[in-house]
Symmetry: C2
Subunit: 594 residues, 2 copies
């Protein structure tokens, strides 16, 4: 049976030692979020994840959701779990206290997203989508809309969705056909079909608040003619049933306990959110937070897959170590003695711990971007979040799937069998590379929108601290084995950045051709930056009295970093070479001759 235990030691290490996140308490809004309180809340959150969400993960996958007479039933135990989750206040941990939220930093939410997804990816979809709806209404809704919807979304009594995709368009929202016709009372009649709507219909909450993209009658063509509407399942005034219905459920590879609905609207009543024709912008603002959430799904699924691969590798006895028996009293050695099993485990560990530092860093910057009292700091943090969001969304979800696949491989034949639980992680993980903008779209966002923005200002938010870090530690002999490869990889990243930016200005196809490899190269350097910082801290701790108490922890950090720099970071060289090859090898073959 699979297992999950929240990695609280590592989470605290990242929060307190790497990020020194207590600095957030200087922000008045977060003044009460003391480190002790945050730890306490996260430990409570970990308990919910381990004891309530995780035990129904495997059964939820087996049972799936069912649709009957337009009503969706979630798997056994999901209602009770959702009630416990909502009653614990977990739907609104970072929500505005004005509407009943706990007002905790986004960083706390980021950590929770990781743990929820480790415990039960499918379950996490329901409150996750509500957060998206909350954000959209909080930022763009009228006061009346906020008063109507936010308090119930925050308690979890109501849940939310984002209705974007239609059968003929996902990535290209300019093609949307759903129509909104104004009524005399100021509302709209909305008609159209939306597909792939997560949490579109289910039995967890009293009401479901859909945020729907549609076109007004006078809308310009394309993306400039899309407006955002709030379309509740039950109308808030009299709780009458609105004409938005689930037509069918998709049969998916994974996240089977998350309902994925086709939603049909036949003149459903809705209200405009924000300005006419500005819906896409509103949706994109929301989507940045959603993409960070998806990045956490990648990390979360990798963490739980790694834990199970590790446990199996320690327990499974098979063959002897190549240099002689390690446990001669047993019939064979545990497979963790084998270098190739360790390669898979260390790849997983180096990713999880590095990505944890990286994505929490982005989460903390999200707080600074929203709440810092210093405008310059807000801007700088906002830039960094904008830059790093596509990178961690794509890289962490690619790796979430890869690490889940490695956990299967460590399990051998058992990895392919449902009972052991790890094949579910691979199936669940796979969606995160696709939704909220495919990873290819993330890469285009990086080279197209982020790279050149404001004369490279976003890039400098990352490049400057890395440069400074390298400079500060390059004379430190103990750091040489880490700083040298980081500096080399960083120099190549600067080079590919300059070339891609330059070529891309002349011909955007060149930027597109570089995009995925560039994103991966960037992510590897970013992970290297995180690992090098963690080594500095670990070396300092080991030299101090404090560190001696957790010697193994800090030594393990340094050894894992060594693996990362010698075995994983060199992938960036391959990516660099692929980028340098330019667009021609991709573009010269005519479509008909593939």
């Amino acid at each position: 049976m699979p297992q999950y235990s929240a990695p609280m030691n590592d989470i605290k290490f990242v929060l307190h030692e790497v990020l020194k996140a207590e600095s957030l308490t200087k922000i008045p809004d977060y003044a009460e979020s003391s480190p002790d309180l945050v730890d306490q809340i996260l430990e409570e959150g970990a308990k919910i994840c381990e004891e309530i969400l995780f035990p129904i993960n495997q059964s939820g996958d087996e049972e799936g959701c069912t649709l009957k007479d337009g009503e969706v039933t979630t798997p056994k135990g999901f209602r009770q779990a959702y009630d416990a989750f909502a009653q614990g206040g977990w739907c609104g941990i970072s929500a505005d206290p004005e509407f009943g939220g706990m007002g905790l930093p986004q960083l706390v939410n980021t950590v929770m997203q990781e743990m929820i997804c480790s415990a039960n990816f499918s379950f996490g979809m329901y409150p996750g989508l509500s957060q998206g709806a909350y954000e959209a209404l909080h930022q763009f809704g009228t006061d009346e809309q906020k008063q109507t919807y936010l308090p119930k979304l925050v308690t979890g009594e109501w849940s939310g969705t984002m209705c974007l995709t239609e059968p003929h368009c996902g990535t290209d929202l300019g093609l949307i056909r759903t129509k909104a016709v104004p009524d005399k009372d100021g509302s709209y009649h909305i008609t159209g079909t939306k597909i792939f709507i997560s949490a579109g219909e289910h039995d967890l909450s009293e009401n479901i608040i859909h945020l729907v993209l549609a076109r007004l009658p006078d809308a310009p063509e394309g993306v400039k003619g899309i407006s955002l509407f709030v379309v509740p399942k039950f109308l808030p005034d009299d709780m009458g049933r609105n004409d938005i219905h689930c037509g069918s459920l998709e049969h998916k590879m994974g996240i089977k306990a998350s309902s994925t609905c086709v939603m049909n609207m036949e003149g459903a009543k809705g209200w405009l959110v924000g300005k006419p024709h500005k819906g896409l912008r509103a949706m994109f603002t929301m989507m940045n937070a959603a993409r960070l959430g998806v990045a956490m799904q990648g990390l979360g699924i990798a963490e739980v897959a790694y834990q199970n691969g590790l446990e199996y590798a320690k327990e499974r006895l098979q063959m002897r170590a190549l240099d002689g028996a390690k446990e001669p009293d047993k019939e064979a050695d545990p497979i963790i003695v084998h270098p190739d099993v360790r390669r898979m485990l260390l790849t997983s560990k180096a990713f999880c711990e590095g990505a944890r530092a990286l994505s929490y860093w982005v989460g903390m910057n999200l707080d600074l971007s929203l709440k810092s009292e210093d405008e310059q700091e807000r801007q700088a943090a906002d830039d960094l979040v904008a830059l790093m969001t596509p990178i961690i969304k794509a890289y962490q979800t690619d790796m979430g799937f890869e690490v889940a696949s490695l956990a299967m491989q460590i399990h051998g034949g058992h990895g392919y069998i449902h009972e052991y639980g790890v094949e579910q992680y691979a199936r669940d993980a796979r969606i995160a590379m696709i939704y909220e903008g495919t990873n290819g779209i993330q890469a285009l966002d990086l080279v197209g929108r982020k790279m050149g923005a404001h004369m490279g200002r976003y890039l400098r938010r990352f490049f400057h601290p890395v440069s400074e870090f390298i400079e500060a530690h390059q004379a430190n002999k103990d750091m040489a084995e880490f700083i040298f490869p980081l500096a080399k990889a960083f120099a190549k990243l600067q080079q590919s950045t300059a070339i891609t930016a330059q070529k891309g200005l002349k011909n955007p196809v060149e930027a597109g051709a570089a995009s995925t490899d560039y994103l991966r190269q960037f992510a590897l350097v970013a992970l290297g930056y995180m690992w090098a910082q963690m080594v500095v801290i670990s070396q300092e701790k080991l030299a101090s009295d404090e560190g001696a108490q957790s010697k193994e922890f800090y030594e393990s950090k340094i050894k894992t970093a060594r693996f990362f720099f010698t075995r994983m970071l060199p992938e960036a060289d391959w990516r660099f070479k692929a980028i340098m090859a330019g667009a021609e090898p991709l573009m010269e073959l005519e479509a008909a001759n593939f």
Copy 2:
């Protein structure tokens, strides 16, 4: 709905132009296998795959196998398909004519394996396992055993299995506990439990012939005490039911239409095959052919996934090309205009076509190793097959899964939905990385058994022709862009070979630490060698009258090769660096501190 069309043009190109496989007809046993006959047979085979096996692939996945009262029912249509397949003679295309086989080259079988797996991976398991049983009995059985079992295995009236794995041991067969106690009549009573037995029970054939590994009472411990037995479901003399029963079916990630059984034996009647205590050797002889078959599964699933990704990329209209609309009369351009979609398609295409050449080359050498009249040629071919089998098994199955995942990615959200069919390819593909020896075990086989064997003789079977090829073409200016990177990558492979061999002699952990990266590096160079040869041929053809008729085909080869050399081959540099890092970064972390 997914689709499959056998890539006959490319298959013929590899057989006739790259391999010049008609040379096999010089071998008396193959004298009748004229190129025309082979083409005709393959075209018939393609029809069976496209028209009979493929249409029940998706429904087979949905329905799966069911177990009731010890009997397994395969999905709807499988019995009829099996009957058609068997009646067409496809179970015995390469089998010995003495026992009713068609006696066609193994190479023809290799091609068929690719197509069968493209069409219906699960279906292919049944005749695939029979082939394994046939091989074992053909090589190691007594005359009486051959007369009893082979003719019925060849017609497909009976099918076969390989019963190796037990709950506590898969990779480490030395731990096997199943017991065989001699009876007075020369037979044995076999008792034990086997797991993960593909085709262990089903309703396709009249009888199932199990080949079972077990221990005799006087057996030495470990791998030197394992014997091979034939244990038929129904006894051949009176067709009485033997005491070997399916206890349960595994619930797997994929290949759901292939029954994976727990087999219980309670004193089942069996007969020794080959010599006592020599069962593992017999099993391994068989396994080489089985591993080549699994390599073909990797290629087969990649091919069908690629075809469906390509079709979708040509049809799906979404966004405009980055450098301006390509089809302005449509509401958007087909997504194949986007460089990142092309990156995914070209990765798939370059793999499939390169791997086709590579694995057919190995298939042809299997024929030479078995049938050549020249002993030296037999030996050389046998060495090459021994060397390349673990490489193509691991690399092609890794890539089978990766290409299936790329096809999902090209499909966007639709890729995650069962209806579109591509997510099934990823689920089905995943098993091939695990069974018949995990890919980690293949890598250990390469560095442990193949690299050092006979003072590097196996290696020379590959290194010499590559050296000669590079030398022969290095002065050709038209080839420079291909020969230069190949020569560079090849030099690095020679370097990592020397270092790994040298370090591995002193400490086998070093070889183990290099193994997976080394195998991948080797595979990339081997694919490069294939692509460079295909470019030479294509350039020659284009310069001739003959080539002008298929200009697009040969130009497409050259352009795909360009993609391979500039974008895929550089991965070998990363692998080289990882190998050079040595074992320490893998081994220094104590198991308890992971």
